[in-house]
Amino acid sequence: MHTLIQNLIAWGVFGKNPPRDLVAAIVVFVMSLIVFLVVALPFGGIVTWVERRVWARIQSRVGPNRVGPQGFLQWLADGIKIICKEDIIPDEADSRLFKLAPYLVMLAFILPWAVMPFSSSLILADLNVGILYMTAVTALTVVGVLMAGWASNNKWSLIGGVRSAAQIVSYEIPAGLSIFPVVLMTGTLSMQGIIRGQGWAPQHWFLFANPFTFVAANILYMSSLAEANRTPFDLPEAESELVAGFATEYSGWRYACFSMAEWGNLFIVGAIITTLFLGGWQFPHVTNNVVAMNVLEVITFTVKVLFLVFVSMWIRATLPRVRIDQLTTACWKYFVPISFVNMIGTAVWVAIWPDGNVAIGYIMFAGAIVFGAVFIQRVIYYLRRSRMEVYLNPTI
């Protein structure tokens, strides 16, 4: 953001010798609005459409394809419909808390965008504790969810809220511990600092830096899914058990807040993983034009994040839900100890090779490529085997 403001002033966008503080304030305000209104909110809507289409493909259905080209405007239609609905507040509910809860969840969704590193100069605030801030504000969700569950005065909602509290608070620990290896390697908590510690090539990503970070990345991804209430950890809103969990009593705009935050959090989850382990916006230096470079970086970052979003949709379409005792067992008996091992292992690693070991990076990247190839080969094998006229309809 600093460089952006300096560049803008240097280019004379605000005239000669403008008051620097005012310009900075205006730029930050406008950029916040753009990020919030053009990126964050529509993303929460558009991703619902994407998810429905992806699901439909996986389930050999068509999905929404009527509103707009390929049904793209479905999210707008749904949004308008849901805003037009009556906002019902049950008589027996604690109406103040009931009204407040969706906004807390929404806040937890909006605040992380402040440190979202879209490119080398596009970041609203490059805090020196960026990643810590990110985990801190996303944990605010649990307050809203628990509040919603309690204030609804509905037992199903309460179970949903308590489940969510147990889940998010538990999974904060392995998620937090999985960030440490990266912090140990870079020595900074700033988002941009972490990204600058990596290179554009996959072997320079922290994902392949050493075996411990690879495991940490996977644990962080799973824990983040749990924190975002995604399958296989979607217990707080397990619809076959708890109807809609903590959101059962909500309707209209308040319900939309919950669902938008839920889907929007996918981007945040993807952004955290991308920043920490997948090299963030790093792109090979192909041009000296700052604007072009930034555009390329934004695209790189977004593609990586969207890939992770797609993976989580894929997981949601494939896996069943775990039970609450299995969920906590997985967290406390497996994820937390493994995270500690990762942390200590990385510390030892950094002590031995303070500048990293590129050979390991190449080996692990090669391993990942082999794994991917085997995976694709298996998929092709299954596709071949089930080629038996899948869409055969005996009556046609």
Binding site: W156, V162, P232, E241, T318, P320, D325, E389, N393
Partner: protein, 372 residues
């Protein structure tokens, strides 16, 4: 110092609840996530079908039998037809019996598909349900071609079936079976051996063989406890003795004998067996009439009879008392789901709330069949 006081929570699950498969209601006494007890409350779908039989007569009752269990209506059709035939001493033509078996076995596959798909959905996996619905649609198309209906078939008549197989139907059915067998494997690869899925089902709701017999369980629920009891084999009816097929039983491979996973796997394996029966039936089907000559004003002699059919949910009993007039004096249906509901209260103690959903799904309870 006073100790912390905890309270039991009484939850009302249903009759409007996404995973109660219709309108069931459970009163759940729970300590947090752990259930103390789940008391089933039945009767929300009671339509007095048995009483209707006494008013509409023998032939007029056939469409009503579809509504006893609309997921596998062929068996209720067949049960009613067989009861009337036994009372009046009517011999069904061979081709008619074959048509009945073919339609019924297709219906069994459709019913089990729905059961295993709904089970996966109750556990949170959405894709398997969409896939089984896709397969079930094709069976529905086949049956629609056979009798014009997709859910409440009204295909069978007293003395046989209403219509012969349409031209070309046999080949289509065989083609479908060629398609179906690999699909079953694909389905298993998709969900059945999934680690999370097995963990959710194994050791949940374990029924011992003695309990199963004491609680009167039938069908796949009974066979999952390791008891080989299938009406098609043990009290043969129709033309089932002419076919070779296995009766799959549970073996406790994934957990304890008689757990939810056993019930699930038994259903999967029964579909493969049904497919075998269908292949044989479609190969062996003899020519001839499909409907015996039955007088228009059907009046069986006074007396009573009891018929047992192996439906998708197990041993379905039809008890019919006639007083010699054109209307039955008393009809009673004994269904598998009602018996299965009885054991839920016993099994539920100590389970999690999430497991109650698994348990209901694994017992394959169909609401209309409980209440009739």
């Amino acid at each position: 110092m006073s100790t912390l006081r905890t309270e039991e929570m009484t939850l009302n699950m249903g009759p409007q609840h996404p995973s109660t498969h219709g309108v069931l209601r459970f009163v759940v006494r729970a300590d947090g996530e752990v259930m103390r007890e789940a008391i089933p409350d039945v009767g929300y779908l009671h339509r007095s079908i048995e009483k209707i039989a006494e008013k509409v007569g023998y032939r007029g009752f056939m469409p009503y039998t579809d509504r006893v269990d609309y997921v596998c209506a062929m068996f209720t059709n067949q049960g009613w037809g067989m009861a009337c035939e036994k009372l009046a001493g009517i011999e069904v033509p061979k081709r008619g019996e074959y048509c009945r078996v073919i339609a019924a076995e297709f219906n069994r596959i459709a019913s089990h598909l729905l059961s295993v798909g709904a089970m996966a959905m109750d556990i949170g996996a959405m894709t398997p349900f969409a896939h089984v619905i896709r397969e079930r649609e094709m069976i529905n198309d086949l049956i629609e071609e056979l009798c014009g209906a997709r859910l409440t078939f009204n295909y069978m008549r007293i003395g046989g079936v209403a219509w012969d197989l349409p031209p070309g139907w046999r080949e289509k059915a065989l083609k479908y079976l060629d398609h179906f067998d690999p699909i079953l494997e694909e389905y298993n690869a998709l969900i059945s051996w999934n680690k999370i899925y097995v963990e959710r089902l194994a050791n949940v709701g374990v029924i011992t063989p003695a309990e199963a017999i004491n609680y009167n369980l039938v069908g796949p629920n009974l066979r999952a406890c390791g008891i080989k009891w299938d009406i098609r084999k043990d009290i043969p009816y129709s033309v089932y003795p002419e076919f070779e097929f296995e009766v799959p039983v549970g073996n406790g491979q994934w957990g304890k004998l008689g757990d939810s996973m056993d019930r699930y796997v038994v259903r999967i394996r029964e579909m493969a067996e049904s497919s075998k029966i269908l292949r044989q039936a479609l190969q062996k089907i003899p020519p001839g009439a499909v409907l015996a000559k039955v007088v228009r004003n059907f009046k069986p002699p006074a007396g009573e009879c009891q018929i047992r059919v192996e439906s998708g949910r197990g041993d379905m009993g039809w008890y019919l008392v006639s007083d010699g007039t054109g209307y039955p004096w008393r009809v009673h249906v004994r269904t598998g789901s009602f018996a299965a509901m009885g054991i839920i209260q016993k099994l539920s103690a100590g389970l999690m709330i999430a497991d109650l959903v698994t348990l209901i799904a694994s017992l394959d309870v169909i609401a209309p069949e409980i209440d009739r």
